[in-house]
Amino acid sequence: MPDAVLQGERLAISRLLTEVENDTPAGQAALNQLFVHTGKAHLVGITGAPGTGKSSLVNQIALHYRKAEPPLKVAIVAVDPSSPFTGGAVLGDRVRMRELSGDSGVFIRSMATRGSLGGLAVATAGMAQVLDAAGFDVILIETVGAGQSEVEIVKLAHTVLVVDVPGLGDDVQAIKAGILEIADILVLNKADRPGVEAAERALLGMLKLGHPTKHLVQHHGKLEEVLAPADTAADDWLIPIRRTVATDSSGLPELLEMLGKHKAHLQQSGDWQRRERSRLHTQLQGLVQHTLMSQWRNQISDEEYSQALDKLVARELSPRQALQALLG
């Protein structure tokens, strides 16, 4: 299977994605073999509130990469939420990507979160590795419609696009601060709608608060500029805002140019390596936790565990004392 995947055979890629998604022994073994071939693709995350136009943007970004000279091969992983009650899901992002059909340089895969919270599924990282090894130059990862806590994407992608739209209102803007923090590029989509100017001003205002070289502070009711701390590096990335209309393609060439600039910035500043390291750190840590946890759980009987839990409930032990008791 790994050989066929390296050759870019679509059925093999698709079947391996399923094995990896289901975390089967075959999937794990293939990932071991393919890992040496990963690390080349540009992983781009697309996140933002539900309905802001993420899928439509993914469609346009892919179309533009396909029209580039030379055309880049694009894989798309679109994540939608699983129902917490039934475990089922309706994965509808493809509806917006019909223009990409019939192009063998594009591969679209939908997946459900299967109980994960941060906006991605546990298997998303592994599936991106399969597509990376299969030779896709760019991997676009659409997260579930995110609020402020669905920020796992920042640990996976090299470049994160946060999509906002006009008319969501100032209150919502403030709530979204958490997700703005993870942006490398802010996309103001639906720029054909009224209220773009106001929305862009609001975004700029929030960006300036976190601006590394200039600070605006409220001082007796007035906004005042404060000089940057002396240790701010000159080559820091200043988060740009790009307006787009994903239903036609206005703003797309400019957005693609920014994506290229960010990639170049990551490579020149050494951040590409740093993000790579922190991504693999996250993955390794997750694996260690998961493995140690299940090893430990296998060593201990359900009875022992529930006895400790009983004592905890009866307040005979504190959580830390229970831990001591269980770890023996």
Partner: protein, 135 residues
């Protein structure tokens, strides 16, 4: 190892805009714990076969109320098999006259459902046939 999820593609090939049935089925399958990839309206047979390949689904459900099932269904099945997906199960729903049922069966359609078909029967059939294909 995570529990094996049944993945189903629900598509509407052809040009008619009757999408209520497809949406009802998509929701019912989700509520039965399946993962449903919904492709939307006006899909060509090529688009459906391509999505079936990329999504590696266990079953494909086609909703056709336009009367064009005898041209669309054979083409879709042919394309899916040509991609090497021999064990993907095929289900068809919508307006299918009784005399066409044997023809579709002969083409390899696993289940055919007209107006008023109870969704629990559809769910049971999909579960049963997908699990058979897995063995």
């Amino acid at each position: 190892m995570a529990e094996k999820k049944i993945r189903v593609l629900v598509g509407k090939p052809g040009l008619d805009g009757h999408d209520r049935g497809a949406k009802v089925i998509a929701r019912a399958l989700r509520d039965a714990g399946m993962e449903v990839i919904y492709t939307g309206l006006r899909q060509t047979p090529e688009m459906i076969a391509e999505a079936t390949l990329q999504e590696d689904v266990d079953a494909v459900g086609l909703s056709i109320l336009s009367g064009a099932h005898l041209t669309l269904v054979p083409r879709i099945i042919e394309l899916i098999r040509a991609n090497g997906q021999d064990d993907v199960r095929i289900f068809v729903g919508g307006i299918i006259p009784d005399e066409d049922v044997p023809k579709l069966r002969e083409l390899g359609v696993d289940g055919i459902y007209g107006p008023g078909s109870p969704t629990h029967a559809i769910i049971d059939d999909i579960r049963k046939l997908v699990n058979q294909a897995d063995q």
